[in-house]
Structures are given as structure tokens and as C-alpha cells.
């Protein structure tokens, strides 16, 4: 056949058409590439039935801040967390950690069922067991131990437990007969509070009225990163800056590193690590010498400013003498590295702009600031008389009494409770401390004061926190039975025999008291907002069940076997009237406050069921009225005044005997002109020097907590991991911030992988040159480097704590970090 031109063209065009159409048909129906199964699956369950969508109140417990959240529950799924607008702490706002809460709830690495150890300890081999079986095992072991009359050999290490949870643990341990309920959260509890307690006496805690302050002088305090209640602080900060029409608050921040707080501050004063207290003393000396302090307040309300004579007639040095004799300006300049003119300017401004706050560290004691440095910082607040004033330091109001009737104990329990504690708290050297986690490792290892038979881990993960990893592992190996309640396979859980997975906060009851930044007590109530996605159980309910299974004496610890009933029972007193009310809209609050402060409004008894319903709906209760002029509450010292010279400290040292006293005194700062005994009671700021060979280890280490991860127990949350080091473009691994010039000197470049080596150990890190690092000081983030606990945390980065060594703080026995030096070794 002979092809005609026309035919050819037809053939060409038809085949082209076919090709195009075929391609179109084929491509538009390709499986796998066109659909998104995740959403289809997600929507499938709602196509059949109407979906109920509701917002349920709960409390955020990603950190200790106590924010109220609303959970958007869509059908049976929680899809979003937002702030509870009625909540006085956060007023409808939520921080990054709070927003990420669902990644805790729906974390794929949560332990789904109770597990019994299958292999050797620490091997990580498990077999699932039923809850009945698991509870049976625990109950029997506990029963047996108690029967042998050794209930004190049960120990429970908890995390930052509070409220109803704490009550349950306490009652359980008390009824069982063990004194060993230890909060294991080393380094984290030593904020300003111990120092404030020495100077202002024990109170329900202190707070800074940031919102109303006009000037804030921050001494290395992680205000915008690691405050105990971040959202509250952020809210206050927003108002501090722009809340008042003309009066924009000014923030001056002294820190070796340009942190977020430093970046946000109006002025950043780079300062040698650990010399914050000395800077405070330098500022105090300007205030005193130039007579810029509040004379009225100092004479009326303070003790120990001038020299004074004690009972025996000896002349004791006062604060003024301390400042003049020990902190001449030259010395301050030398030790802090801050130029003289900056110190003078800062001091004058601090005195001029009122109300001015001096804030030390509110967060973890990771920056080597001892209690004396913090006293020195706090002394500035007293010098300008900014105590119990709007925009000043406030003592928290008394909380509502939510206690349950006391536990009735039998003879076995009484005997057990009379034994000394595992951590030595409440006795001798630790007479004023409630928990001393620092001594747990040694005492466990040395079986002091007695061996521990059963160890319960309830929210604590000592292996990650500990600076004595090897020794603690050895100690854990000696304990016959370890039960972990962790919802995750964290480091310490690896050494457990039995894991009873806890639920996360959206799945359980809790009742908890916290405070606003203005000292108002807030009672949070949260309940399970949805069915648990895993077969975990609330540890408190487990303890209740175990107690019940153990029969009479122990079972009596709890008036009910349901945690909900305990919450109700605790809240009963609130219905009796007095001050306080369920959360309400802001306008309502303002009105109440006005009425109450002028004495017009008297609350009467209300129906409890109505109150209960109100609390459940609104998320909690608070007392919006604060009485500033209650000086006896605010200054609960032996002298009834603000003590520059702490009589509490003097009493403490006096109580110690011989050796103990000498040991404790040894840890207090050395002074040149004054006696050790006085130095131990005064704000004798000092700079701890970093040990180690300075030529070999040329760089000073300045560890800091990653803001976005701080306070989070379970860091297995990819949203948070992804934004850790945004200021240096580094995430998912540990980095080391170094000044570009120093980097050049030690021969490393941005992006290099190095080992950071200190005399204590080494970690691998990525070099990030950072203009905000001081020359010759390297900054390392703490919070990464878990070895287990989930796919987004195990093996992510390194544990910087490995570089550090510990020392004990004399008053609280808390573990603190010794300043360290390090060098970089290229990998």
C-alpha cells in the first residue's frame, strides 16, 4: 500500500491525540500519588455519624506553670489545645510547650501496656502483662515487705509532683509506713526561693510583679526562657513593655551569653560566668555610697543593714560594712569584667526608675549561682524598698486549705516512719531541706541508713539527671525490685523490673494549687477529657488500687477508691464561703476585687454540687484579692524584718554540731576582712572559679537550658525538638556556641563537629559561631542527649551534664554544678 501524505498526517495527529489522552487518563488515576490517606482515614469515622465537637477545660502539665487549657475534642479525638480564656494564670494563651501537649498524648512511643522485665536488667527486653497480674505482683511484694516489719525499705522517687498527686503519694507512703518519699529533681528547685527564705522567712513562696515594674535588672535570670510559669511571665512581660500608655518598662540583662532574654533586653551586659552576685554587690555599693537607697524602708523594715550587737554583746558586721569592705569597685570590675561606667550607670538607673526589680535566677541552678549570690541580688530589692509594693517582690497569699483528714496509721507504719530518710533530709546537715536528691545515689550504693528493697519511680528519671551515672546504675542494680510508672521508656525505666505505664495529663484527674505572678492562689482542677489511646493507667489510681488490695491499715489511707472522690473531698472546704471563687470573665474579676477590697462583698456558703459543676466547667478556683500590707506574712523572719544579716542562717549553723558545722561552713564564701561565721549569714557574693588546667582547658563552659525543652519531662516531641536552637540554626543535635574570634583562635569553623572535653567527660557537638557568645566562654545547651525514651529523643544530641561535676549547696543540700573548663577537639 502506498501511504498518502494526507493519511500520514492523520495518523500522526491521531497517535498524538491518543498519546496525550492516554497519558492524561493514566496519570490522573495513579494510585498512591494522588490521595492523602492520613486525612481520608481521619475523615472516614465522621462520615457516618454526627460528630460532637467540644472544648473541655484541663490543666497543662508540660511544665509546672499551671496554665488552664481547653482541649478541642472532635468525636473521640483531641485535635487542639488552646488556653482557657477564663484562667487567671494564662488568660487564654499557651506557650510552645503547651501547644505541643498533644504530641505527648498521642506519642507513638508511649508504653501501651504493663511490662514485666524479660531479659537482664537494663537490657530493655520486656513482656507485656495484664494489669491484674501487674497489680497483683506489686501488691504482694509490698504486703510481704510490710509483713516483715520493714515498710521503710520502700522508697518512692517522684518528679515535681504537686497537688492531689502529691497527696496520694504522701498518704500512700504514710499509711504504708515509709518516710522515703523523695522528690528527685536535682538542681531544678534552687531558684531565688532559698535565698528569699533566708532574708524574708519561710512563706508560701515569692513572686515578682513584673507587669507593674518600671525597670527590671536581670542577673542571668532566664526570664523569657525558663520561668516556672512561662505563659504568665510572657503575659506580664507584654504588659511590662507596652501595657501602660507612657511608661514602657526597661529591661537590663547581665549574662555571659546573649540569650533570648538578653536579646529582648534593652541592654545586655556580658559578664563573666558566675559573677552575677558580685555585680549586684557592686551596684549595692554605688547605691550605698551615693545614698541612693530607700532609707525609709531600710530603717523601718530591715535588719542587719548597719552593724549590730548580738546577745553576747559582740559587734556583728552589717550589710553596709560587708559592701564597703569586701566589694571595692576595682575588685568588682575585675571579677565581673563589667566596665566601671556601666556599673555606675546601671546602679543609678536602678535607683532612679521605680519600681525597679532585681531578679536572680528563677529557673534551674545550672548557672553557677550559689545561694549567697542570690541573696546579694535580692538585697538590691530591699535597698530600693521594693518589697510588697506594686511592681515589687510579693510574698504569695495563703493558699486555700485543701487538705484531707489525716491518715490513721498503725504501729508498723509509725515504726517505719520514725526511721531516718534515705536522703537524710530533715536531719543534721539537711535539717532545713525537705528533699536531698543529691545524696540518694551515695546512700543507695552504701545502703545507708538501710538497704532499699523496693524502689518506685513515679515521674522521676534520676539516670538522666544524675551526674554520677555509673554509680547510680550500680546502686540500682543492688535494689531487688524496681517499679516504674513512667509512660515512656526513659533511662531509669530501663532498669526496672515492672513498668506500670502512667497516663498523661489529659487523661487523668488532678487538683493543684499554684500562684499568679501577683501572689493570688489558684486551684486548678482537671479531669480526663477523653478515652486514653493507650492502655495506661493513672498512677494515682494504681496506688489507690494497690492500697485497697493490701487491706485494712493501708487501705484506710484513702477515704475513697476513686480519685475523683478525693478531688471532690479536698474541694469541700471551698463551698463554706470566705474569699475566692471559680474562674470568671476578666470584668467580673475586676468588680469582685474592688468590692472585696473595700469590704463590701462577703461570700456565703454555696451548694457544693453547684460549685463542683462550676469548677469543672471553668477549670478551677482562685482568690483574686491580695493584701499587700500583711507584713507578718511577707517578712516571717526571726526579727520580723527584712534580714540583710540572716538570723535564720545563723540559727541553722548554730544548730549544727562539730563536724557538720565545719563542713557546712567550708562551703560558704571566703571573705578577706570579715569572719567566716558572719560571711555565712550575709549576702557574701563570690565567684566560684572553674577548676582544671587553664592552659589545657582554655574555654569556660556555660551550660544553659534549651528554653523550648526546659521543664518538660518527656522530650519526645518532634515539634519542640525541631525549634530548639533557632538562633544558631541548629536543631536535633547538641551544639556549642562560640565567639567567632575564639573559634578562629582554637581553629574550628562554623558547622564543624567537635568533641567538647572537660576534665569530667566529653560530648560531641556541632560548632556554631555566635556573636552573642563571650570570647573564651562556650555555651552548651542542656536538655538533649537522652539514651532512651522514644524516637524523637533517644540519641538526639548529647547530655551536656556529662561535662559537669557536682557540689552540694550548704543549706538545701541541692546538687549544683561546679564551674567547668573545657577544650574543643576536632572529630
Amino acid at each position: 500500500m502506498k501511504m498518502q501524505r494526507r493519511d500520514f498526517i492523520k495518523l500522526l495527529s491521531s497517535s498524538t491525540t491518543f498519546g496525550l489522552a492516554y497519558g492524561y487518563g493514566l496519570f490522573s488515576r495513579l494510585p498512591g500519588i494522588s490521595g492523602s490517606e492520613a486525612l481520608a482515614k481521619q475523615l472516614e469515622d465522621v462520615s457516618l455519624r454526627p460528630v460532637e465537637e467540644k472544648w473541655l477545660p484541663s490543666i497543662c502539665r508540660q511544665c509546672a506553670g499551671g496554665c488552664g487549657v481547653l482541649v478541642r475534642v472532635y468525636g473521640e479525638r483531641a485535635v487542639k489545645l488552646d488556653g482557657n480564656p477564663l484562667h487567671p494564670i494564662n488568660g487564654g494563651r499557651l506557650c510552645a510547650r503547651g501547644q505541643a501537649g498533644l504530641q505527648l498524648l498521642y506519642n507513638p512511643d508511649r508504653i501501651a501496656t504493663p511490662l514485666a522485665r524479660a531479659g537482664n536488667r537494663g537490657e530493655g527486653k520486656w513482656k507485656p502483662v495484664s494489669w491484674d497480674e501487674a497489680l497483683g505482683t506489686v501488691g504482694e511484694k509490698l504486703k510481704a515487705l510490710r509483713k516483715q516489719g520493714r515498710p521503710h525499705e520502700l522508697a518512692m522517687l517522684t518528679g515535681a509532683q504537686r497537688g492531689l498527686e502529691r497527696t496520694v503519694s504522701e498518704r500512700f507512703m504514710a499509711a504504708y509506713g515509709s518516710p522515703n518519699l523523695v522528690r528527685y529533681e536535682p538542681d531544678r528547685s534552687l531558684g531565688m526561693n532559698p535565698a528569699l527564705n533566708l532574708m524574708q522567712g519561710q512563706a508560701a513562696g515569692f513572686t515578682y510583679d513584673i507587669e507593674n515594674a518600671a525597670h527590671i535588672l536581670s542577673f542571668n535570670s532566664a526570664l523569657l526562657e525558663d520561668h516556672w510559669s512561662p505563659v504568665q511571665l510572657f503575659r506580664a512581660y507584654g504588659n511590662f513593655r507596652r501595657g501602660r500608655k507612657e511608661n514602657r518598662g526597661k529591661l537590663v540583662h547581665a549574662e555571659p551569653r546573649l540569650s533570648v532574654t538578653g536579646a529582648k533586653a534593652d541592654e545586655w551586659i556580658p559578664i563573666k560566668p558566675g559573677s552575677e552576685g558580685i555585680l549586684a554587690m557592686g551596684i549595692a555599693s554605688i547605691l550605698i555610697v551615693e545614698k541612693r537607697y530607700d532609707e525609709n524602708f531600710v530603717t523601718e523594715r530591715c535588719f542587719g543593714f548597719d552593724d549590730w550587737t548580738d546577745e553576747s554583746g559582740t559587734l556583728r558586721p552589717g550589710f553596709r560594712t560587708l559592701v564597703i569592705q569586701e566589694y571595692p569597685m576595682d575588685r568588682v570590675v575585675k571579677l565581673t569584667g563589667v566596665p566601671r561606667d556601666i556599673i555606675i550607670r546601671t546602679a543609678r538607673e536602678f535607683a532612679r526608675v521605680q519600681p525597679a526589680l532585681a531578679i536572680g535566677n528563677d529557673g534551674p541552678g545550672v548557672r553557677h549561682q550559689g545561694i549567697y549570690n542570690r541573696m546579694a541580688i535580692h538585697a538590691l530589692n530591699a535597698l530600693v524598698g521594693n518589697i510588697q509594693k506594686p511592681g515589687g517582690v510579693l510574698a504569695n497569699a495563703r493558699p486555700a486549705d485543701l487538705s484531707l483528714p489525716p491518715v490513721s496509721r498503725d504501729r508498723v507504719a509509725d515504726q517505719g516512719l520514725s526511721r531516718p530518710r534515705l536522703d537524710g533530709a530533715g536531719a543534721e546537715r539537711y535539717a532545713v531541706a525537705s528533699d536531698v536528691p543529691a545524696s540518694v545515689t551515695d546512700n543507695l550504693l552504701e545502703k545507708k541508713p538501710y538497704p532499699i528493697e523496693i524502689l518506685m519511680l513515679n515521674g522521676a528519671n534520676p539516670l538522666y539527671e544524675s551526674l554520677h551515672f555509673e554509680r547510680l546504675v550500680k546502686a540500682l542494680k543492688q535494689i531487688p525490685t524496681i517499679v516504674s510508672f513512667s509512660p515512656f521508656h526513659d533511662e531509669t525505666t530501663q532498669w526496672a523490673d515492672l513498668v506500670l505505664p502512667d497516663t498523661t495529663y489529659l487523661e487523668k484527674w488532678q487538683l493543684d494549687t499554684t500562684y499568679t505572678l501577683k501572689g493570688h492562689p489558684v486551684v486548678n482542677l482537671s479531669r480526663p477529657v477523653l478515652k486514653a489511646p493507650f492502655d495506661g493507667r493513672d498512677t494515682n489510681e494504681v496506688l489507690l488500687a494497690v492500697a485497697a488490695s493490701m487491706g485494712k491499715p493501708v487501705a484506710n489511707a484513702f477515704p475513697s477508691t476513686r480519685i475523683e472522690d478525693l478531688a471532690k473531698l479536698s474541694l469541700q472546704p471551698l463551698s463554706k464561703g470566705g474569699s475566692g471563687e471559680p474562674f470568671g470573665a476578666p470584668m467580673e474579676e475586676l468588680w469582685t476585687r474592688l468590692l472585696e477590697q473595700s469590704g463590701w462583698k462577703v461570700r456565703t456558703e454555696v451548694d457544693f454540687e453547684k460549685l463542683w459543676a462550676d469548677l469543672l466547667e471553668r477549670g478551677g478556683w482562685w482568690d483574686p484579692v491580695y493584701y499587700r500590707w500583711e507584713w507578718r506574712r511577707a517578712l516571717a523572719t526571726p526579727s520580723g524584718r527584712f534580714e540583710f544579716y540572716s538570723l535564720g542562717a545563723r540559727d541553722y549553723f548554730a544548730k549544727l554540731t562539730g563536724m557538720e558545722r565545719d563542713m557546712a561552713l567550708q562551703k560558704t564564701p571566703r571573705l578577706v576582712n570579715l569572719q567566716q561565721a558572719d560571711a555565712a549569714c550575709l549576702p557574701a557574693a563570690s565567684r566560684a572559679r572553674a577548676g582544671g588546667n587553664e592552659t589545657l582547658y582554655a574555654l569556660e563552659v556555660n551550660p544553659y537550658f534549651i528554653p523550648i525543652l526546659s521543664g518538660i519531662t518527656h522530650t519526645n516531641q518532634p515539634w519542640l525538638q525541631d525549634v530548639t536552637g533557632f538562633h544558631v540554626y541548629q536543631n536535633w543535635h547538641t551544639w556549642v556556641e562560640i565567639h567567632p574570634e575564639t573559634a578562629h583562635q582554637v581553629g574550628v569553623h562554623n558547622g564543624d563537629w567537635v568533641f567538647v572535653e572537660s576534665p569530667g567527660g566529653r560530648v560531641k557537638a556541632r560548632v556554631r559561631t555566635y556573636e552573642g557568645a563571650m570570647p573564651h566562654v562556650i555555651n552548651l545547651p542542656v536538655g538533649l542527649g537522652h539514651t532512651s525514651g522514644g524516637r524523637w529523643t533517644a540519641g538526639i544530641g548529647e547530655n551536656v551534664l556529662k561535662l559537669l561535676q557536682a557540689r552540694q549547696e550548704p543549706f538545701t543540700g541541692q546538687e549544683q554544678f561546679k564551674p567547668a573548663r573545657a577544650r574543643l577537639i576536632k572529630t
Binding site: R6, F18, L48
Partner: protein
């Protein structure tokens, strides 16, 4: 040798139809419902509201298909002697949902809300669902095609939003 165009013509026709078939086969295959439900009887003779069974219509994004429980609330005792009716009770007895098949479906990238169209805008069901209410047997395919063109023409007519982002999420 001459006059043999049919070969190329046939090729041309063949390829066109094959392509057409391919394109079309991507959409709409016939739908068989588990129960021969009679919309006409329920809505026209008994004068029941659509929302009685499609409970989500006015309050939800999706109209929802009736669960066995909704059906059984009327059909617990036999109302007719239909074998189809018996199926409801079987499903219910076995604690199973009736596996209704969806006839109308917008793609997942479309943010369509019944609530918005019915409750807020006050549209009739028939506007989009055609004569569904008068069907005596379950139709094999949707009596009215849901297409973007149809959405757009209606939106234009009623001066509703025609921004892409109003419907495409």
C-alpha cells in the same frame, strides 16, 4: 491500491475512543446499596424530613448516613413485609452498622460544610442533590453530579464567595 483511507481513519477513531474510555473510567462506577431504600416512600408519602435520618445536615459538616440505630427506631417491629426491611433488623441484631455507600462526595481538598449551606445559607437539599428525595430505588449513580463548575455557577448566581480559599483548604 487506491482508496484505502479507512485504515488510518479506523486507527484514528479507535485511538480516540480508547482515550475517551480511559479518561471516563476514572470516575463513577455504579453503586449498589446494601438495602433497597425508598426515598420516595419516606420523604413524600410519610413526609419525613431529610434531617431525620441524615442527622448532620443542619449542624455538621457532613450530612451523615443513617446508622442502624436510627433506622431501628422506627423499624424495630416490622412495618411492611419487605425483605429489605428485615435486613435492618439483621444488621442491628448483629450489632453492625449498615454499610451504606456514599453517592455524593466532594474531594478531600474541598472544604464543604452542610451546616454552612443548609443552616446558614438556607439552601434546599435538592439544589445539590437533585431529585434524590423522589427516588424509589437507590440510584446507581448520583442523580446530580457534584462538580466545581456547578458549585461556581451557583456561587456566582447567589453572590457567594468565589475565592479559591473559601472552599479549598
Amino acid at each position: 491500491m487506491k482508496k484505502e483511507p479507512p485504515i488510518t481513519m479506523r486507527l484514528f477513531a479507535l485511538s480516540l475512543s480508547a482515550a475517551f474510555a480511559l479518561v471516563c473510567s476514572g470516575s463513577a462506577s455504579a453503586v449498589d446499596q446494601p438495602i433497597a431504600y425508598n426515598h420516595y416512600k419516606h420523604t413524600q408519602e410519610l413526609e419525613l424530613e431529610c434531617t431525620m435520618c441524615h442527622t448532620g445536615v443542619s449542624t455538621q459538616i457532613r450530612a451523615t448516613l443513617p446508622s442502624a440505630e436510627i433506622c431501628i427506631s422506627c423499624h424495630e417491629e416490622p412495618v411492611t413485609d419487605s425483605a429489605e426491611e428485615e435486613k435492618i433488623r439483621q444488621y442491628y441484631a448483629q450489632n453492625e452498622e449498615i454499610p451504606w455507600k456514599r453517592l455524593f462526595q466532594v474531594p478531600e481538598h474541598v472544604f464543604f460544610s452542610h451546616r454552612r449551606h443548609v443552616t446558614v445559607a438556607g439552601l434546599d437539599c435538592a439544589k445539590c442533590h437533585g431529585n434524590m428525595a423522589t427516588q424509589k430505588k437507590p440510584p446507581k449513580k448520583a442523580p446530580m453530579a457534584i462538580s466545581m463548575k456547578a458549585c461556581m455557577s451557583c456561587h456566582r448566581k447567589l453572590q457567594a464567595q468565589i475565592d479559591c480559599v473559601s472552599c479549598h483548604r
